[in-house]
Symmetry: C2
Subunit: 611 residues, 2 copies
């Protein structure tokens, strides 16, 4: 699942400056160690009271912020208290959280136990699985190994450079689909999964109480290996060993049938590229690396010259090329400044900004802020993803501008980001039937997605009492042959990141921002003579976002008169003067007066200054 990349312009600017070069992150790759793979999984024995607490910190009531940990409890054992983490993702903010950059999981319950954390396993490189690493790892301990495939780690490293002033160094350890890890009581295997970013894996946890399987994000594509292969054979073999618990991706659980095959998507894409009469501009996501690879292959086949435009897309493609995930003939790549040298029908532009992001390439083109690219009649613009909720307005603006400038627009709905990377109901059923777990827990999705996924599990033969729909923070206790949803909750509320602040924006700040956005602010300053208790001069008024002050002189005059009257009346017979009371009265009365005059409710802030 890819979610919207809405980063505060101020912040984004900063990272560019800090990192200096666009491809800085690649240097960080040198720090990556290879994991030591063991020959054979050897599960230590546990006592009959041994249990694993499965603690989801996010991802069970939303799409995003995926993170969970497993904690082994067996008081007599040397492994007692051992913990592994799976994924450390972020969530993009909702519309009612103005100014918030993103939301990360609450790790409070982990902090007292941080010395027992053996590892964090990262299933793939999308932000909802890696995005909270710069914030979370320094607090948990940067020495903790982060396991992931080469591409996953490269993207984590790149992001860490962007956050170098807060994130610090990481202990990155590379695995592949066949790595077997000995993490004490937890013996880990992986299985490759098909998803819209290469290097995605699911996790198999062997433990004294049994096997737990975490799918990560996945889809199943039986007709093509372009998007990677979900290694169903590994899972089939596993089912013979009796899997205790399967935790599976619910992102697309509401969709019936099977997910599209990459074959069909490739075919559609090829038709578009083949038929484009003029230049072809494809707007997509920098993180959709599998798709970008396909497009580049087709471009080469049809002898197109390709401009890769957008900082993040360039960086990601460079990383993926270096690691061999994208095989590209460097000769077909040209820079934006060279476009004019080629005939229109030989030019293709891969651009960021299909969601109408303000400073991405597509928006810069249509608003004529792009240095080299101007729209020409005959251009075809392809939107390779459907609109993410919240972006409709910007995308509509973009589309209208494109039409106005004479471009042909194709909304290529099959490349829908939601549709593209995740298993649909029949795929999910197949996953459950393949793994044949004793217990099933849907993960990664809103509550309703989990409930619908639970219905799928029922159809796949799991009995109701063995299906566990949990909430964020709600603890499961897994024992040999049993998994119980407890009534214990660990803190799992939203931790909001706003600039350098993590978790310091509370409800009250957000409520204030919403209120300020609605009708603005109205500050009134009454200067009082301390000796007489009387107003000195006329009250000052400062207002923003309420009314256009220059055209509201009469209203301001009346408000000043009202303030004078209130202060006079309130202080007349009061000794000593209770200024808190006077201020409350000013707030109420001025608020009422302004509402009566305008039917708006600005935030009224009275200030009394005694001199």
């Amino acid at each position: 699942m890819i979610t919207k990349q809405k980063i505060h312009p101020g912040r984004r600017e900063k990272f560019t400056k800090t990192s200096g070069r666009v491809i800085a992150p690649l240097d960080a790759l040198e720090e990556v160690k290879k994991a030591k793979s063991v020959e054979k999984i050897m599960v230590p024995a546990g006592s009959k009271d041994a249990k694993i607490r499965v603690v989801p910190l996010g991802g069970l009531e939303e799409v995003g912020r995926n993170m969970m940990y497993l904690e082994y409890l067996d008081p007599g054992s040397k492994y007692h208290g051992d913990i592994i983490i799976i994924d450390i993702g972020l969530q993009f903010p909702e519309e009612n959280m103005p100014g918030i950059d993103y939301i990360i999981p609450n790790i409070k319950s982990l902090l007292p136990k941080k010395n027992k954390i053996k590892a964090a396993i990262i299933t793939h490189a999308h932000y909802d699985h890696i995005g909270a690493i710069p914030h979370v790892m320094p607090k948990l301990g940067s020495q903790i190994p982060l396991y992931g495939t080469d591409l996953t780690l490269a993207i984590i490293a790149k992001r860490q450079v962007e956050y170098q002033d807060i994130g610090g160094r990481l202990n990155l350890v590379e695995i592949n689909n066949d790595t077997k890890l000995d993490l004490g009581v937890f013996q880990i295997e992986f299985f490759g999964v098909s998803h819209n970013i290469p290097g995605s894996v699911g996790v198999i946890v062997h433990s004294p109480i049994g096997i737990l399987v975490h799918t990560g994000d996945f889809k199943i594509d039986t007709r093509s290996s372009i998007g990677g292969v979900t290694e169903m054979d590994k899972l089939k073999n596993l089912s013979k060993k009796n899997v205790l618990l399967l935790m599976s991706d619910s992102t697309n659980a509401r969709e019936t049938g099977h997910q599209f095959s990459e074959v069909d998507i490739q075919h559609e894409m090829e038709t578009i590229i083949k038929n484009a009469k003029g230049r072809l501009i494809i707007g997509t996501f920098a993180s959709l690396l599998g798709r970008l690879n396909e497009i580049l292959q087709i471009a080469e086949k049809y002898d197109k010259r390709v401009v890769i435009d957008g900082r993040s897309m360039k960086a990601n493609i460079e990383i993926a090329s270096r690691l061999g995930y994208i095989k590209i003939n460097p000769a077909i790549l040209i820079s934006a400044s060279e476009i004019k040298r080629y005939p229109s029908n030989k030019v293709m532009i891969l651009a960021t900004g299909a969601q109408g992001e303000e400073n991405a390439v597509l928006m810069r083109i249509v608003t004529k802020r792009h240095k080299y690219l101007k729209l020409e009649s005959g251009d075809t613009v392809v939107f390779s993803s459907s609109v993410i909720p919240g972006n409709e307005r910007s995308v509509q603006f973009l589309t209208d501008k494109l039409y106005r400038d004479g471009a042909e627009v194709i909304n290529y709905r099959m490349l829908d980001i939601h549709a593209g990377g995740h298993a649909k109901q029949e795929d999910l059923k197949l996953m459950i039937e393949t793994v044949k777990p004793q217990y099933f827990m849907p993960i990664e999705g809103n509550h309703s997605f989990l409930r619908i996924h639970a219905q799928v599990a029922r159809r796949a033969g799991i009995t109701d009492k063995n299906i566990i729909v949990a909430d964020n923070g709600q603890v499961l206790e897994a024992r040999e042959n049993s998994v119980v949803l407890t009534k214990e909750y660990v803190p799992a509320n939203y931790i909001m990141v706003d600039g350098l602040g993590v978790g310091d924006v509370q409800e009250v700040v957000l409520r204030d921002r919403q209120m300020l956005a609605e009708d603005g602010i109205f500050v009134l300053i009454a200067t009082i003579d301390a000796s007489t208790g009387k107003l000195r001069g006329s009250p000052d008024i400062i207002s923003r976002g309420f009314i256009y002050l220059r055209e509201s002189k009469e209203l301001l005059y009346q408000t000043r008169q009202l303030i004078k009257k209130i202060v006079e009346n309130d202080t007349k017979n009061m000794h000593p003067i209770n200024w808190a009371w006077v201020k409350n009265n000013l707030r109420d009365e001025v608020g009422k007066f302004l509402f009566q005059k305008t039917h708006r409710r600005p935030m009224v802030l009275p200030v009394v200054i005694e001199v």
Copy 2:
């Protein structure tokens, strides 16, 4: 087209109080006059220089705010300057317009000519066609007759009562599909259209220069008359007379094929109602009167008792029943308080709030604020409309809560409000082929919708040069056998309504609101001794929406020190002191300091008080 009904809670409350009774508007119906229909259309003669200016004031770059006027110019004629208006709608605000209630058309170009306005014709009762009446009509002249069908006028009247403190009385004149109006130079006929509210019409304007046709919102349903019939025969006859210009609804121009038939929708709805095992709660729009009627008919067939819940829905159903558009056996209606008397499978609830509106019935049920209705396991909740952009979050919240409380949720996508009421490409083509106009102008939609509709017109045989894609405010000049898109623009910018203010919220106020929403406000107050030019005491700081002040004592301390330093330095060698300069410096330096410390950019407002 129905758009979201997001009215500021403060305002909504007020109208309830003012109008007193829920069904107050029905009284206003008594004021409606019947139109005098003429026997035969008699078009006056015009000179060979006669022309009609077609002036779209809204609806050509958006979905909403539909309004246009036709102005007859023929200097020698007694009809010279005559004007008729078609529709006076509103548009709901975008996400980047916090606090704005809605947007109305700019009528500046009409004001100097208001005495020449013969009539306003309203095609149907949806807000994007009637919503600006309370604001616009008092300015144009309330004596101007507003023509519409009985239901259209009843809903206009009801809304006018809600706005009685600004709207005043209206001159409402009732027409039906066959009324022929003599409006001087403009001779008007109507044709009934199928849409998702009854009483919808299109307009045929006979004039000395030829016939102009305005479809209003319409769809074509050849298999059913449930949703009304688009009178294609009338249009077919018209085509023999050579129609000069057809202006047609583009809302669904992006959709291929034909619109669904009400037969299919009814069938689906019947299946759901028949199969519901427990109570059935259907969330829909109060304005979808056609659909509500169908649901009520099926409910009666299956012997359900129906609760109509939601003020606007009750009022609309009462109006439509009185006028005979909804035929309902009063015996099946029960009140919410009576629900317990009936078995669950006999109870159906028609509720507002399918878009997750805060105070509508569905939200009150799931948040347990509804007096009589609590969710029970076995309840089926049907969402009868797809999610309007911007409402995803609330609808997802609602859905998750419903699942949590054990309800079954059905998203009935065929009842999609966008899909339901508007012609799709093949229907649009049929409209053009039936009317056979010389010129064609797509209306009602974003620019890209109009362009796609233009492509449809090309397929329907209209030549490129006879297809006119105009912008809001752009004037067309129609003469006998020619329509030309001029380069003349009348003002057609957004007029924003915020509380009692119409058009007073300008860009600067909106920008301030957006800025306040992002990172809040930081007011610093420096009290200066006028005699010495020195700070008196410590500067005061007031901040909202920026950080949680109680946990930021150190930052506040440092900021105060900075303010002191700046004031000291800036005033040391300056005589007289330029306070504007000092304030600017304070704004910049404190802003920089706060950004450096927090990476947030609150609005910094320095206040200097000399005492």
